[in-house]
Structures are given as C-alpha cells and as structure tokens.
C-alpha cells in the first residue's frame, strides 16, 4: 500500500501538515466541539435546576441530564480534543507523516460509535442515570458500559498511533535532537492514557459482563478503587495535555521557549512516575482501607505530582516573561505582562487558564485530597466546584485558546466575529471563576452535590441550610449562566468560522510530496509568530513571575491552614 506523503506548509505559521493527519486532527476537533455543544446545553439545564429559585427540571430528568453532562464533557469533549492534540504534537510539530492513518480512522469511528451508544443509553433509553461514575451495585443498561469500552479502545488506538508517529519521525529524521517540549508533554499524556485505559478496562469489562448477567456481583469498594484509578489518572492526562497546550500557545504567540528544558521535562516526567494508582483520594472517607494506604496514595507518594504542577506554574509564565523582556518590555516587574497580547484570545485564554487552574483548581484539589480535610468536604458541592476549576477553567479554556490558533492554520479559515472571539475567554473565565468559587463556598457549608432538592420540601425530617448557603447557590447559578454565555460565544465563533468562515487563499499554495523514505521538504521551521526569541533573554529576568509565584504560594499556605483550623472545630472522631 502506497504511503501518502503529501504535505502542505502553512504559510502563516510555517507548520507542516501531513494530509491524512490534518484530516484526522480536524475531525477529532469537530467531534470534540459537537460534544461540547451537547454537554453545554445540558449544563444550562442543570444550572437552572440547582439554582432552586428556578428549579427547571423534574428529578428524574435532572439526574439523567447530569449523567449525560458529566460524560459528554469530561469524557467525550476532552478526549476527542486530546486525540487531536496528540496528532498535532506528533505529526505536525515534528513535520512527520502520521502512522497508519487507516487504523487511526478506525480508532476515531470506534470513539464516535462508543460516544453515541453511551448517549443513547442515557438520553434515549432513559434507564442509565447512574452518573458518569456508575458506582456498582447501582447498574446501568449494558450499552452504557459497552459504549464507554468502545470509546476507550478507540482512544487507546489513538495513543498507539501517536507513539508510532514519533518513531517514524525518528526513523525518517524529520527533526534533529530531542522532541519539542510540547511533544514531550503530549508523550506524558499518552503514556498516562495507556495506563488509565488499562484500569478502565479492568473495571468496565467485568461491570459490562455483570450488566448482561455473566458476572454475579461487583464489590462496591473494589469498584470505586479501580474506577478511580481510571477516573483520576485521566485527570492527569488532562493536566499534561493542557500544560502542553500552555507551552504551545506561549511559543506560538510570544515565541516563548522553556527557561530550562531540563526542569520542564523533569516536571512532566514526575507526572508519569507519581500518578499511577492515584485513586485513594476519592476514597478517603470509605471504610475498609487503612490510613497509611490512604496517605501514601493520596499524596501520590509525597506530593511530587503537585510539585510538578507548581513547577510548570512558574516555568510557563517565566518563559513568557523572558520572551517579552527580550522584545524590550523590560520596565519594572510587570511591563512584560501589561504589554502582553491580551487582545489575542489564544493568549488571554491560555493565561486565564493558567491562573484559574493554579489558584482555584490546584489549591482546592490539594485540600480535598488531604486525608482528614476530606471529611469536611467529601461529596459536597466543593467537589464539583474544585473540578470545574481544573477541567473547565484549566483544561477546557486552554483547549478553547488553542482553537483560535488552529482555525486559520488547520482549517484555513479566517476567524469569524473577531470582537466576540476577543472577549470570549474573559467572559468564560469570569463566569467559571464565580461559578466555582461560590460552589466551593456552598460546599464548605455542607450543601451536597448531585442533589435535586436541598430544601427537602415537604419532608418532615428535612434539614435547613443556612441563608448564606442559599445565597451562594444563587451566585454560582449566575456565574454558571455567564459561563454558558462564554461557551455559546466560543461555539458561535468556531462553528461559524469552520463551516462558513472566509477561506484563506494563498497564491501558489499546494500540497507537495516528500521523497519516499525521507522527511517532508524542510522549510523554515517557523513562521512569523514562531521566531523564538527566548534564548536571548536571561532567565534571571523572570523576576515578575517569581513575585506572582510567591503570591500564589502565600495564598496556598494560608488557605491550607485555614481548613485545618476549620476541621479542628468539628466533633472529635476516630
């Protein structure tokens, strides 16, 4: 079978796209955005129900919609997009042909079928409202599990295609030396994904067999333990992927290079080494596990993965600062930041993602994952508050940011509604920040997650939450609505640009064949936006970033000990 060696060089960015890889990246990105659209409509319905002044849906519909929202967002939107990122970081950044495109397409269609089947179980059959965690012994229809399994197999194929692409790049010498840091981050994500999907298979396959009557029972504790080995490590895939996207956007927009390759890469390596089996922090208040296991596991062996995230939190803005200073924005501590391209949604989205993920998602995650502190927050609204800060403010916003770069480069369309695009990251980030903060506030007051009626109306034994809790619920409702508006803006810009946007015409544009057995023709590997300047600056110059990092550190320490103080007032337990 002849290998397709057709490449095109993007005139704007200088990136080289392999024809089949380009189509795969586009289709995965489109499938992701469709999932986001569905998940977003469901999000609106949920917000309007939890905000009990509106209380839109009936309980059965609410639980069904909540199940579908979790799956369409956390699983389908995020993972379709991640596969696109893998192919981009593998094939495009290395200027190398993608391995076995037919197999990659098979993986893609498996994912599509899986996602459809799972949504069918939840939204059409209406008998699988078990939440995305589907904790046994509560059971769903078999098509629910089978859909997830097919999707996971498809995603696993995507990971292996990515690995095979890297080895082709090496063999055909399409790049010299080591892979770029962004690709290295993508490798991290893919390695964790393989481990994660294996855990998913270990738990979902028996559960599927149980749902069709071939396995007699599933132990609830074992289920939670292994399910979270899958569910949690997949969050680490997200972190690796969105950190890779941060580095990519920083490079593309301001030409940033890592302050030190060694530090950035070691931090990625820590993710791989210390993430495995991080499932116990979802089981900190479960019976049947010992405290020593919980402590060792929840800290991912001494918190070295948190260390890694803190390192990226410094090195990404540090890289931006160095690049900006090299351009002459050298006055004082913060001129580099003030004069950053805030009007470019790729940049503002990336930077807001970094801040939101660190301050809101990261800190709250460590608190939740502390063995004893979990007692005062487990399964309250603090939990969805925390993970909307990580996976929405962090991952989703980072993915939104890089889309603004991909539309002209990958889809060759001009960005439609540029003013709306310019404002979108701010609206979305502000909405989500308000939403997550007040959700965490309500959680601190004990308001449960996944709950249709926290007023317990008509129940003689009901509990009355304090007025402040109700205020927080209303405020997160408003924040959620604003975030939905930000989401709609994103969808309008992307969908319109991709399907109806003005085509970008370049005279003399053509796909060219690379000589068999060799790389694509070498063009200048960078376009205007990519002229790296970082190496000129002195990394010591990243003093503004260091100040920001210290602000972060002080907030972290204070908030951490405030929670211990709060815990110490609770009834003694042992």
């Amino acid at each position: 079978m002849a290998v397709n060696r057709m490449f095109r060089t993007c005139p704007a960015s200088g990136l080289k796209f392999h024809q089949p890889a380009e189509a795969l990246i586009r289709w995965n990105a489109v499938a992701a955005v469709v999932s986001l659209l569905v998940g977003g409509i469901l999000a609106l319905l949920i917000v309007l129900t939890r905000w009990q002044a509106v209380h839109l849906l009936s309980p059965d519909v609410f639980y069904m919609v909540l199940t579908a929202h979790g799956l369409d967002m956390l699983v389908f939107w995020i993972i379709f997009f991640e596969i696109a990122v893998l192919y981009f970081a593998g094939s495009t950044l290395l200027g190398c042909r993608i391995a076995a495109p037919r197999v990659a397409w098979a993986g893609f269609w498996l994912m599509v079928i899986g996602a459809l089947m799972n949504n069918y179980a939840v939204l059409v059959r209406e008998d699988s409202s078990v939440m995305f965690t589907s904790y046994a012994p509560m059971g769903a229809h078999w098509s629910f599990y089978l859909g997830l399994i097919l999707f996971a197999v498809g995603a696993l194929i995507g990971c292996f295609i990515f690995f095979a692409t890297l080895s082709i790049g090496k063999a055909e010498r399409t790049y010299v030396g080591s892979v770029p840091v962004v690709t290295f981050g993508a490798v991290t994500a893919a390695v964790i994904a393989v481990f994660t999907i294996a855990s998913g298979a270990i738990i979902l396959i028996p559960t599927f067999l149980w749902s069709i009557g071939l396995v007699p029972s599933i132990d609830s504790l074992m289920y939670r333990q292994i399910w979270w080995a899958f569910g949690h490590s997949s969050q680490q895939i997200n972190v690796s992927a969105h950190v890779a996207v941060w580095y990519a956007v920083a490079a593309i927009v301001v030409g940033a290079k890592p302050m030190s390759e060694k530090v950035s890469r070691t931090a990625f390596l820590l993710y791989i080494l210390f993430i495995c089996l991080a499932s116990a922090h979802h089981l900190l208040v479960d019976p049947g596990l010992t405290s020593s296991w919980k402590i060792l596991n929840t800290s991912y062996f001494l918190y070295l993965a948190v260390l890694a995230s803190m390192v990226h939190g410094l090195t990404v803005p540090g890289a931006i600062e160095c690049a900006q200073r090299a351009k002459g924005f050298n006055k004082g501590l913060f001129e580099w930041l003030r004069k950053a391209p805030w009007g470019n949604p790729a940049f503002s989205g990336m930077f807001l993602s970094l801040i939101g993920f660190g301050f809101l998602g990261g800190i709250s995650g460590v608190i939740l994952g502390t063995e004893q502190l979990n007692i005062i927050m487990h399964n309250t609204l603090y939990v969805p508050g925390h993970f909307h800060a990580t996976v929405v403010l962090g991952t989703t916003l980072a993915f939104m940011a890089i889309t603004y770069f991909l539309i002209p480069v990958l889809f060759r369309r001009e960005l439609a509604f540029p003013t709306m695009a310019k404002w979108q990251p701010y609206v979305f980030a502000l909405g989500m920040a308000v939403f997550t903060l007040f959700m965490m506030g309500a959680g601190t007051l004990g308001v449960p997650r996944r709950h249709w009626d926290v007023s317990f109306s008509g129940n003689p034994l009901g509990f009355e939450f304090p007025g402040t809790a109700w205020l927080m619920i209303a405020l997160f409702g408003i924040g959620g609505l604003l975030a939905v508006v930000g989401g709609i803006m994103y969808l309008l810009v992307t969908v319109y640009s991709v399907f109806l946007g003005k085509r970008i015409q370049t005279p003399g544009f053509a796909h060219v064949t690379a000589r068999s057995g060799a790389a694509a023709p070498v063009t200048a590997p960078v376009g205007a936006a990519l002229t790296g300047t970082g190496s000129v600056a002195h990394p010591q110059a990243a003093s503004g970033t260091f100040v920001l990092a210290m602000v972060f550190f002080v907030s972290f320490v204070l908030y951490y000990f405030i929670n211990w103080k709060y815990l110490s007032t609770v009834w003694p337990l042992k």
Binding site: Y63, M310, T444, L461, L573
Partner: protein, 184 residues
Amino acid sequence: MSAIQPPANRLWWKEPIEKIEITWVLIAFVWAMVLFFMMPYWHVFGKQNLANEAHRNTPEKYTAKTQEMVDKYKVREETGLNDQKIPVVHPPAGSDVYLIARLWQWWPILELEQGQTYRLHLMSMDWLHGFSLQPENINIEVHPNYEHVLTIQPTSSGNFGIVCNEFCGINHHTMVSRLYVVKK
C-alpha cells in the same frame, strides 16, 4: 527556538538551571513535604481522624443488631416522609450505636448525649449512600457489606441533619433524617 521546536542545544540536559527556577523548585519541594507530613501529624495530635476499623457483614446480620438496639432503647417515634414511623433511640453513653442506610431512608433516629463517646456503626443495605452530618459537616461514604465503625464524640447539642450525599437513585434527595444531641 521555542517550545514547539526541538531544543536548540542538543545537550540541553547539561545546561545549568537558573537561580529563580531552582529556588522555586526547592520551595515547592519543602511545601510538598509539609503537605505530606501534616496527615500523619494529625493522626497523632489531631482529634478528627477516621478509623481503620471496618468489617465485612451481611445486611441480615447488621439489621438484626440494629433491631436489637432499637428494641432495647427506643424512646419514641417520629413521622418521616409518607407518614412512615421511625423509632428514636437513646442508647447508653459509650455504647455501640447502629445506623442503617437504605433506599431511601436512614434508620433509626439516634439520640446521643453531649460530651459522651459512642461507637457509631454505618452500613448500607443496598447501594452506596453518603452520611453527611449537618451543619457539623462530617461526611462519610457508606458501602453495602462493609460495616464501618467510628468513635464519635458530639461536643455540641441540638438537632442535626443527616443528608444522603452520595447519589443513590431517583429519590436520593428525599433521603434525609435527624440526629439529636441532648445535654445530660
């Protein structure tokens, strides 16, 4: 050369690390150690820790033990949702007290004395449930077939709510009950 290109220096691992980065790595590392050691520290010096004690049990045996407690120490009845009668029990201070979680009810209602310690047993008869004591905000996962035993000391008195905060099906939001703490 930028982050989306191979490193300019092929021997990048030999480049020195800058002061700012290494300082931050050290700060973060020390902080990671603090985060870690706070947990064992609290086991030794803190008062709010969960027990390692849990036994495998069957719903039948667990119900029998709970029934025994109710028979001995029932003080009155209260009316729950749909006019269900739920017994209120006042077990002796220091004793073993049992709480059943089942679709969609907590059973029975416990009445405890302020300042006393109890061994609180929690188990589910069917699916997962969440024991969430409000406004104290103590939250514990309740599993079927695992009997969890906690030593608990109510230090304040009044009427407390027990909300189910693990999704347990269509009537999950109706699963709520009380816990009373009385002054001696």
